[in-house]
């Protein structure tokens, strides 16, 4: 059986970890299989959980969050028969042949929702609330800003990070205050890439009557008609696929972008009224161009810089 280890944010963060859970659940329902999962409690537990699952014969062991890459690197060699998956993390495949690193092209998905934000905005000011200030989140912000500027070069993009520690993933109060601040600066669409903190952002946006954009999972349902869209990061798909592959999982490094349907934007009944056909057409067009390589979206983490926004 496969096993799944959630990062400290917890299984039900309504976004990243929950996506992995949903993917695993879907896999289990479809195949009738079962999986083991655990929410981490402490740093020392990271390795412990990996080892316990490997020893108990779970295969593959799927983990979420970049923080798991270091523990996996130190554990993997001890369990050569077990396949480890690190979603969002990177482990050198040359050194550890039994590890699959799954990375997402978050900047591409963010670019699309950035376009939607710019098109939905009336004020010409949109904003971004990030969780912990790390390159990964800047990658979201950078892609988003590029998308906004692509639609409206004069648009203002306000960006705020919640904090510099993992606590920033779970501080809805701060998310809410940041959103209020952004609203006062004119923003009328806010994109939250902040784990649990994002719930405070979406909530406040709904309360204050502006649009918001969810992240990772489809969060449109949280405030129907008030969430413009969600930047999908198909952690669920990646998880389900890894689980389906079972012990035969192909290892190495996998980058999932628009082309692989690894990222995208959410469109459902909840936001149908918010996204006009024109908007949809524009976004689909851009998507095709990105896949085709006609538009290149700058990846912040490639050189720690962003042309569209400064941090």
């Amino acid at each position: 059986d496969p096993a799944l280890i959630y990062d400290l944010g917890g299984k039900f963060d309504k976004s990243f970890n929950e996506a992995a859970f949903n993917g695993a659940t879907k896999w289990a329902e479809e195949t009738g299989g079962s999986f083991k999962d655990i929410e981490l409690q402490s740093e020392a537990q990271r390795e412990q959980a990996l080892r316990r699952f490997a020893e108990a014969g779970f295969n593959p062991v799927v983990t979420t969050g970049f923080s798991m890459s270091t523990p996996i690197a130190s554990v993997a060699a001890d369990y050569p028969d077990t396949k480890f998956v690190t979603i969002d993390g990177y482990v050198d495949p040359a050194e550890h042949p039994n590890v699959l690193s799954i990375l997402f092209a978050e900047h591409e998905g963010s670019y699309l929702v950035g376009m939607l934000a710019a098109m939905a905005s009336k004020s010409g000011t949109v904003s971004f609330v990030g969780g912990m200030d790390i390159p990964l989140i800047r990658k979201f912000a950078c892609g988003y800003a590029q998308g906004v500027k692509a639609v409206n070069p004069d648009a203002t993009v306000i960006s705020n990070m919640t904090g510099t520690t993992p606590a920033a993933w779970n501080d809805p109060v701060k998310g809410s205050e940041l959103t209020k601040a952004q609203i006062s600066q004119g923003s009328d669409v806010v994109f939250a890439a902040a784990g649990g903190t994002g719930l405070g952002v979406l909530q406040t946006a709904a309360d204050e009557g502006i649009l918001s954009i969810g992240v990772d999972s489809n969060q449109n349902y949280l405030f129907p008609g008030k969430v413009l869209t969600s930047m999908l990061k198909r952690v669920d798909v990646a998880t389900a696929e890894a689980m389906a592959a079972g012990a035969d999982l192909e290892t190495g490094v996998k980058a999932l972008g628009l082309a692989e349907d690894g990222v995208g934007y959410a469109l459902d009944d909840n936001n149908a009224s918010l996204i006009s056909d024109d908007m949809k057409a524009a976004v689909e067009d851009a998507k095709a161009k990105i896949i085709a390589g006609e538009i290149s979206v700058h990846d912040y983490s490639s050189d720690d810089s962003c042309p569209a926004i400064s941090f």
Binding site: G10, K11, F12, D13, E39, D133, N160, M161, G163, T164, A167, N170, D171, P172, V173, K174, S176, E177, L178, K180, A181, S184, Q185, G196, L199, G200, Q203, D207, L222
Partner: protein, 321 residues
Amino acid sequence: MDYLTLLQVLDSTVRLATPLLLACLAGLFSERAGIFDIGLEGKMLMAAFFSAAVASVTGSVWLGLLAGIASSMVLSGIHGLASITFRGNQLISGVAINFLAAGLTVLIAQHWFSQGGRTPSLMGGGRFTDITLPFADALSGVPILGPTYAELISGHSILVYVAFACVPLTWWMLYRTRFGLRLRAVGEAPEAVDTAGVSVIGLRYAAVAICGLLCGIAGAYLATGLQAGFVKDMTAGRGYIALAALIFAKWRPWYALSACLLFGLLQAVALRYQNIDLGGFIIPVQVMDALPYILTVVILAGFVGKAIPPRAGGEPYVKER
């Protein structure tokens, strides 16, 4: 910074100061009666959870508030039992209560809602909505005063007004009523109260109960006013900041108001601005985060006037050894 931004910052100062103020006044009642309470954090957290949980199940924020208060008062009761009846160490009891709340809230939340220690998001009647005071819209056109009234004074949830009203109320109770006289006396010299024929235990339990009540409101405000639901550890150290504010305020109600507003302002500024650039000199956000604590240490060091706690504070009242 233009005036509107300033108003916004002050506006969020008010919101962020509210839970601090309620918790600070809660601590004030308790410590004035001689019961130290570092469990403000835990009580708030417990109340935050139960208010959100009950509000989400019943759809009534008022029932939620009651549940929050009740749960906080249960913890107060435990603290009272430990520190009044069984003359235990008040600090340890407080530490235990903080742990208990941190664990139980998530445990119960998970058991009830299976959402990883969260409550479902609160909708409609499950939350305290902002109240628009009379004429707020009409007056908003008036320069300076209008926006101040409409943005800063109007448009908060009822609990914010309750918290601010608690300040004069606390002052009046403490200094103008029999109960206040006895309460202050029991924190200074419980044996004087005892020999004057007043029950030390009764007074202290009353103080601890009021503390629970106010912490309950504070927690409910966090989960159903400031936020729409409970997430784990959502008090995020506010109980300790309230404690810091209490020392800052030298255990006096009006000073407590200013201290909490100050700390609220610090939080509001830290929230809004990451690193603050003072003409080339950058104050990192971590300094803003730590500032309330640093200020408290400075106060405690007596560099800004000495904070003398109630004399009998922290000591159980023991007649027979």
